[in-house]
Amino acid sequence: MRPLLRAPGMSALLVCAALLAVWEIAARLYGNPGLPTAFAALCELPRIFADPQAAFDILDSLRRMVIGFALALVVAAPIGLLMGRSPVAEALMNPLLMVVYPIPKAALMPLIMLWLGVGDASKILVVFLGVSLPLLYHSYQGARAVEEKMLWSAAAMGMNGAQRMFRIVLPAALPEILTGCRTGIVMGLITMITSEMISRQTGAGNILFNAMDMAQYETVYAMIIVIGALGILLDVCFEAVRARLTKWADKDADTTVAAL
C-alpha cells in the first residue's frame, strides 16, 4: 500500500475517488434534485466538452484571466518590488494596501460595470485587481528581504540603483514573487468566475449560473468539477515552471559538498 501511495499523483487520485464516492452515497441517501449523483454529474462532462459553445465559453474565460493576470504581473510586481526597496514608496503604498486588501474585489464589480460596461474590460479589471494584491504583497516582502550585503557587493561592482533593481532585487525576490503568482492564479480563477456570475455573457461562470437558473443541476456540478480541474491543471503547470526558474533556491534539492 505504501509504495503505491508514494507514486506521483496517486494520493491525490485516491482522495478524489473517495470524495466522489462520498458524494455518490450522500446523493443516493438524500434524494434531492439539488444534489444529483456524482455519476450523473460526470456523465454531463462529455456533453459539455462536445458542445462548441461551451468550449468557446471556457476558453473565453481563460483568455480574460490570462490578460488580467499578465496585466497584474506587469503592474503589481514592479510596484511591490519598489515598495520593498524604497521607504518613500513603502510609506505611500502601504496604507493603500491595508485598505484595499480586505475589500472583496467582486463587490466592486457592479461599480466597475457602471464605468466600463458589462463587457470584457470590467471582467478583466476585476481579475486584475484580484491577482494584483497577492502579487504586490509577495513582491514587496520578497524585495524587502533581499540581503543588504548582496546589494552592497553589487554597488561595489559598479551597478547603479536601476541595475541593482533588475539584476539583484528581481532575481533575489523571484521565489517570493512566484509564490505570489501561485496565490494569484487561485484568486484569478475565483474573480474570473465571480465576474461572469455578475455579468453573464460568455464564460465558464456563465454556463454554470445559467444552468443553475434552469435547474440543470447535473450541469452545475459538472461545471464545478471542470473549474476545479482547471485550477489543479493551472497549478501543476505553474509549479513545473516555478521549479525550473528557482532551482537554485530550493533547499535540500541537492546534497551539499563536504566541507573544504
Binding site: E147, W152, A155, A156, T246, A253, T256, L260
Partner: protein, 258 residues
C-alpha cells in the same frame, strides 16, 4: 592610499536618543598595507569599514582615496562580508565573472579570468555549482574570488572568517596571506580574533567599545611570508597576542543584549 580623517558616526536610537558608534577615528592605510581593526562587538569596527566602502554615510569627517573624497561604493574598494552575500541564482562561475561582465568585459574573457581566480582559491571544478551546494568555507572562497576578479585596489574584509569553523578559518587565513603576498593589495580587515589580527596584519588597530575610538595602533613586526607553525613558537608573536588581549580585556564586558 586611504586616509580616514576624524570620522564619527552617530545613530538615532528611539526617541531623541543617540548612539555614538564611532568617535573621531583617524587612520591612514598605505598602499599594500594589511591593517586589522580589532575591538569588542558593538565598537563600530564594521561601521568604519562600511563607511570606507561608501555603503554607509558618516556623520562627520572624511574618507579620501588618493586625495579624492569617497562619495559612494566603487570598484576600487572590494568588500568581502561575513555573510558571503553570493548571488544564489548564479553559478560559482557566474558570481566570480559578474563584476567583470558588469564592467563590459566580454563573456569569454571574463570567464577565463574567473576560472583563473577559482583555481587560485582552490575551487577548480566547482564552476557550475550553486551557492546552496557549497560549504561555508567554499562560499567565502567564491566571495573572495568574486571581489578579486574586478581587481580593486583595496580589499575591505568584514569578519570574513567569523562564520567558519576553526579548521576552515585557519586554511582560509593561510590562503588569504598567500594571495596577498602575490599582489599586495591594501587590506582593511575587521575581526574580533586577536590571533587572526596578529597573524595577518602589518598593523593592528584596537578600538574601544562605544563610542568606538582608536585606543592603540600596534605595529606587528614579524617576518613575512608568515608561516603559522613558526609564528606560534615565536615569543614575539605570543607577546603581541598577550598584550593586545590584555588591552581588550581592560574594557567592560559588552551588554548582554548588544
Amino acid at each position: 592610499m586611504i586616509s580616514i580623517k576624524q570620522v564619527s558616526q552617530v545613530f538615532a536610537v528611539g526617541k531623541g536618543e543617540r548612539h555614538v558608534a564611532l568617535s573621531d577615528v583617524s587612520l591612514d592605510l598605505g598602499d599594500g598595507e594589511f591593517i586589522s581593526i580589532l575591538g569588542p562587538s558593538g565598537c563600530g569596527k564594521s561601521t568604519l569599514l562600511y563607511i570606507v566602502g561608501g555603503f554607509v554615510r558618516q556623520s562627520s569627517g572624511t574618507v579620501e582615496i588618493d586625495g579624492r573624497p569617497v562619495a559612494g561604493p566603487g570598484p576600487d574598494r572590494g568588500p568581502v562580508f561575513q555573510e558571503f552575500a553570493l548571488y544564489p541564482w548564479k553559478t560559482v562561475l557566474g558570481n566570480v565573472s559578474y563584476g567583470l561582465r558588469q564592467q563590459g568585459v566580454a563573456r569569454p574573457a571574463a570567464e577565463a579570468r574567473a576560472r583563473e581566480l577559482l583555481s587560485m582559491v582552490g575551487l577548480s571544478g566547482y564552476e557550475d555549482f550553486y551557492a546552496k551546494q557549497l560549504s561555508g568555507g567554499m562560499k567565502q572562497r567564491v566571495a573572495i574570488a568574486r571581489t578579486l576578479a574586478y581587481d580593486p585596489a583595496v580589499l575591505l574584509m568584514d569578519e570574513p572568517f567569523g562564520a567558519l569553523d576553526a579548521h576552515t578559518r585557519n586554511r582560509l587565513q593561510n590562503d588569504l596571506l598567500r594571495i596577498w603576498e602575490r599582489d599586495r593589495k591594501s587590506v582593511l580587515f575587521v575581526t574580533h580574533s586577536v590571533e587572526e589580527a596578529v597573524y595577518l596584519s602589518d598593523r593592528v588597530v584596537v578600538l574601544t567599545k562605544s563610542p568606538g575610538r582608536i585606543k592603540e595602533i600596534i605595529e606587528i613586526d614579524l617576518p613575512r611570508p608568515r608561516i603559522r607553525s613558526e609564528l606560534l613558537l615565536n615569543p614575539k608573536y605570543q607577546q603581541y597576542v598577550i598584550d593586545i588581549e590584555a588591552m581588550i580585556d581592560t574594557q567592560p564586558e559588552p551588554e548582554a543584549a548588544s
